[in-house]
Structure formats: C-alpha cells, structure tokens
C-alpha cells in the first residue's frame, strides 16, 4: 500500500522559536498527482513546503514534531542524508533565483555537486532538462549566455530545468508564477501539466484559477492548520467548510 503513496504526513507541528506555524497537519500526497495548497498569507504554506525537503533545517531555532514519510522512509529519521533527500524532492522558489552564472552552469550545478553525471552525460542531461522545462528552443543557440540576461519567465523555467537535472521524484513549487506576467504564467502552467506525467508536484498558489486549473487535489490552510483537503473539483464546487467556500470564492475577509 505504502508504495502507492509518495508523502504521508501525520500530525505535523512546526515552531519558529515559541510561535507555532503548523498545527497537526495530516496529509497524503499521491504519486503523479498535482497537489495545490491555498490559504491566506502567513498561514504556513511555505513553512509546510519547506518541511518536505528539510529546507527548514537551515533556519535556526526551529522545532518540528510528527512524521513525514517519503516512499516508506521517515525523512526526519537520524540516518537520512538531507542532500540526497533534497535531490529527490526539488524546490522551485517564488522569485526566479538562477545563479549569476551561465545557463549551462546553472543546470549543471546540481549534477556536479551531487557527482551524478560527467562529461558527455552531463551535456546530455543539461539538454534534456532544458527540453523538459520547455526552454530549450528559446536558448539552444547559446548555452554560455548569463542566466540573468533571460526574461523572468525564462529564468523561472531555467530554475525548473535546474531542479529536473537532479532527477527528482517530487517537485515542490512555492508560488512559482507570482513574479511573472500572464503569458509567462501560462507557459509555466502548461509546463506543470506536462511534468505531471513523470513527477509528483506540490504547488502553493494564491491564484484560485491556477489551483482550479492545474491541480488534482487541493488543501486549504488556515492559521497553521490544514482545515480542508479534497479533490480540487470538490473544494471549488462544494467545499464542506464555510471558510473554504468564502476563500475560494473571494468573499474572504
């Protein structure tokens, strides 16, 4: 049974110092599904996402309890190598953040530090990743050009390519389109649909239409709790809680 579940999160509590940011979050993420997380600002969506690849470990004075099981392994168990975990669970940030290096070096960064591809294999991996991120056709003439000279939308797809290059199972996306214009947003949404074939995706978004368009399941966070989680169509048509309905219909406040 457990091999059909990607993430099994149970009774997750998270604290920054003395303030509790997540409260008893329980959630199951199924493989090859897109899970959208919505909710008002400051309700803990980003915090939750960062728990899933242990990026919260880089913040001092934090505490976590509960369990997160990825493919049958508790990722907070003492024997877990967090660099390997982060290879498996990639993260795309809110603002595109390519390194101030060439396009090639950006995509090759992960494979190089992890030591998973060299020489021609690395070249091929970079090209495949750029193809999979729907960026290849636009930049194939010059992989040596600085990543920061790309448009923001291209930069975000480059960041996705960079994540794909380390061959993850899961891709976490924290409001990946919030810095982008509608056309670039559209391109990323199409890309997400394509990626769904091979990857499990968890996406945080403030854009209700986006959640409704791209996701299979939707979770609604409220003050650090996951108060409703269901099929996306259910959440957007007949949610069981009044708060959820108010939020998804924009009658919130």
């Amino acid at each position: 049974m457990s091999d059909e579940i990607t993430f099994q999160i149970e009774q997750l509590n998270f604290y920054y110092g003395n303030t509790q940011a997540l409260r008893d979050v329980t959630l199951t993420v199924l493989p090859r599904e897109i899970t959208a997380l919505i909710g008002p600002s400051g309700c803990g969506k980003s915090t939750f996402l960062r728990c899933l690849n242990r990026m919260n470990d880089t913040i001092t004075d934090t505490r976590i309890s509960g369990s997160i099981v990825l493919n049958g392994q508790n990722i907070y168990a003492p024997n877990i190598d967090e660099t390997e975990l982060r290879r498996q669970v990639g993260l795309v940030f809110q603002r595109p953040n390519p390194f101030p290096q060439s396009i090639f070096d950006n995509v090759a960064f992960g494979p190089r530090v992890l030591g998973i591809a060299y020489g021609n294999d690395l070249q091929e991996l970079v090209v495949q990743s750029l193809r999979a991120a729907a960026l290849w056709d636009e930049i194939k003439e010059d992989l040596k050009q600085p990543a920061l000279s790309l448009s923001l939308g291209q930069q975000q797809r480059l960041c996705i390519a960079r994540v794909l290059a380390v061959t993850p199972d899961v891709i976490l996306m924290d409001e990946p389109c919030s810095a982008l214009d509608p056309i670039a947003t559209n391109q990323i949404e199409e890309l997400i649909q394509e990626l769904k074939e091979h990857y499990t995706i968890v996406i945080v978004t403030h854009n209700m239409q986006q959640a409704a368009r791209v996701s299979d399941k939707t979770g609604f966070f409220w003050l650090g709790e996951l108060i409703e989680f269901d099929e996306t169509t259910t959440i957007f048509t007949r949610p069981s809680l009044q708060q959820t309905e108010d939020y998804v219909t924009g009658r919130f406040g």
């Binding site: 390194f99 960064f109 992960g110 530090v113 920061l148 380390v166």
Partner: protein, 309 residues
C-alpha cells in the same frame, strides 16, 4: 496669494541656483585637487630623483649592492626585499583572511559573529608600531627558536606581521561582500542538494568575487606601503633575494631604507637623490597595482551593469 507664492518662488529659485553653483564648485575643486596633488607629488619625486642619473648610470642603480657609504647604490636588494616580503605576507594573509571572512559570514552562529566582526575592526586599527613591538618581543624570539635560525629578525617575521596588518582589512571587506550575496542563491544551492561547503565554494564566493578581489587588493596595498613594522622586525640587512628561502634571512625593504636613511643624508647629495628614486619606484609600483585593480573592478562592474540592464 498667488503673487506672494510666486515672489517666494523666484527668490527660492535664485537662492537654489546660487547654492547649486557653490556646492558644485566645491565638489569640482575637491575632485580636481586630488588629481593635482598626485601630479605635484609625482613632479616633486621626478625633480628630486632625476639628478641621480646625471651622476650615476641606471646600470649602477640596477645592481645588487646597496652600500651608500662607499657609493654603491644598487636598489635590487631593496626592491626584491620589498617584493618577497609583500609576497610572503600575501601568501599568508589572503587564504587566512578569506577563510576567516567565510567563517564569519557563512558559518559562525549569530552571537559569535557579533563578537568577531567588531573585534576584527579593532584589530585593523592597532597602530603598526604596536604590532612591530609585539614582533620584536614575541614573534622574533619564537621564529628564532622554532626554526633554529641565528636571528629571529627575518623577512618571514616581517611577512607574518604584515599579514597580520592586511588580514583585518581583507576580512572586513570580504565579509561585507559575502554578506551582500542574496540569500536566494544559497537557498537555491542547498535545495539542489549541495552541502554547505559546496554552496560557499561554488555559489557564494563566485558571486562575491569582485568584492573579494577588492578586499585582497586593499589588504596587500596596506602591506606594500607599511614601513614601521617592517623596519622593526626584518633585520634590515640589504641582502639580495634568491628564491623563497630568502624569507628566512634578514632583508631590507625600500620603505624601511627611505625611513632609516633619509634623516642622515645631506640635502642634495647623491645618496639623497637615490633615496628619492626609490620613492619614485614605490610610487610607480603602487600606481600600477591600483590601475590594475580598478581595471579589473571596472570590467566586473560593466558586466554586472550589462546583466542587470
């Protein structure tokens, strides 16, 4: 009402124009005077050092024996002494300074950082005479005993002390540069599975490279021009340098020579003019280093501008 406002405006405009003119003139004069002063210093150095060449040949200057009492004015021992001591100082100060900067900026916990940063800045303010004194009383005996040398007053001792003077500058400037690297780069690297060290080495340091370069240039610049410390601890024997092994004998630098001998020479004598020639050489060296540094920085800045535009 309108009239009142208008009249006030006219007054205001005139006043502001005048102020504008005065401020601009002052800034202009300050700017030009910097150039004028450098030019004057250069002219003065030329004027005082050129007579050297009427009395002795350039070949005599470019020789290996410095013994002014018998009219041997070979500056090579002094030039090579300065260079090897600076090189020695750079070899110690750059890695050590950069590692310290990395430690403070990237690794140390916040409380330690808040102690270390001001401490480094205080170290940078210690007068060089004090360091020289420490060099004579503590470092030199240590060098002599640990390395079994006849004397502890060696080029190496001077290089260590100069490194000690360059390190605070390097640490403080490089730390600022590392600190200015956006957190987003670090997060991106860590999220891709890089270790903390890989992140520093492959992302943070390259992103901060122009600042780090400035740091090393400023640090070494401070070491090249330093006189006091070097005069106190290097033994001041004008011997010729023959490889890195010469770090462990007594050497003399150009700055120390000028400082030590200028007080004793007769105004207008050949010795006097030669000392000025040494000053001219120092001037040209530091000019070259500065031009090279700003050329590198200029290129780096140009590239950044192109990227951000």
């Amino acid at each position: 009402m309108t009239k009142l406002v208008n009249r006030k405006m006219t007054f205001n405009t005139k006043y502001r124009q005048l102020l504008e003119f005065v401020v601009e003139a002052i800034i202009r004069i300050s700017g030009y005077s910097a150039v004028v002063f450098v030019g004057l210093i250069f002219l003065f150095l030329m004027q005082e050092s050129l007579p050297t060449f009427g009395e002795i040949q350039a070949r005599d200057l470019w020789s290996q024996r410095w013994y002014p009492i018998e009219n041997y004015f070979g500056v090579l021992p002094l030039l090579s002494g300065s260079l090897i001591i600076t090189l020695g100082a750079a070899l110690i100060a750059i890695p050590f300074g950069l590692m310290t900067a990395i430690f403070i900026a990237e690794i140390a916990p916040l409380w330690l950082r808040e102690i270390l940063k001001p401490l480094v800045e205080i170290l940078g303010g210690v007068p060089s005479v004090v360091l020289g004194f420490l060099g004579i009383t503590v470092l030199a005996p240590l060098v002599r005993e640990e390395l079994y040398l006849p004397t502890g007053l060696t080029a190496f001792t001077g290089a260590v002390l100069l490194a000690g003077m360059a390190i605070p500058t390097i640490v403080s400037v490089a730390e600022d540069a590392l600190d200015a690297v956006p957190k987003a780069y670090r997060d991106a690297a860590l999220a891709l599975g890089a270790t903390r060290w890989q992140t520093i080495w492959r992302v943070t340091l390259p992103a901060a490279r122009s600042g780090v370069l400035t740091a090393t240039m400023l640090g070494i610049g401070r070491a090249i021009g330093e006189t006091m410390t070097v005069m106190m601890v290097t033994g001041n024997a004008p011997q010729m340098v023959s490889g890195l092994g010469s770090l462990f004998i007594s050497l003399r630098t150009m700055t120390a020579t000028i400082a030590a001998e200028m007080g004793e020479v007769a105004n207008g004598s050949l010795h006097y003019h030669v000392l000025f020639s040494i000053g001219l050489i120092l001037f040209l060296i530091s000019l070259t280093v500065n031009i090279a540094a700003s050329a590198v920085l200029f290129r780096a800045r140009k590239r950044t501008e192109r990227l951000l535009s």
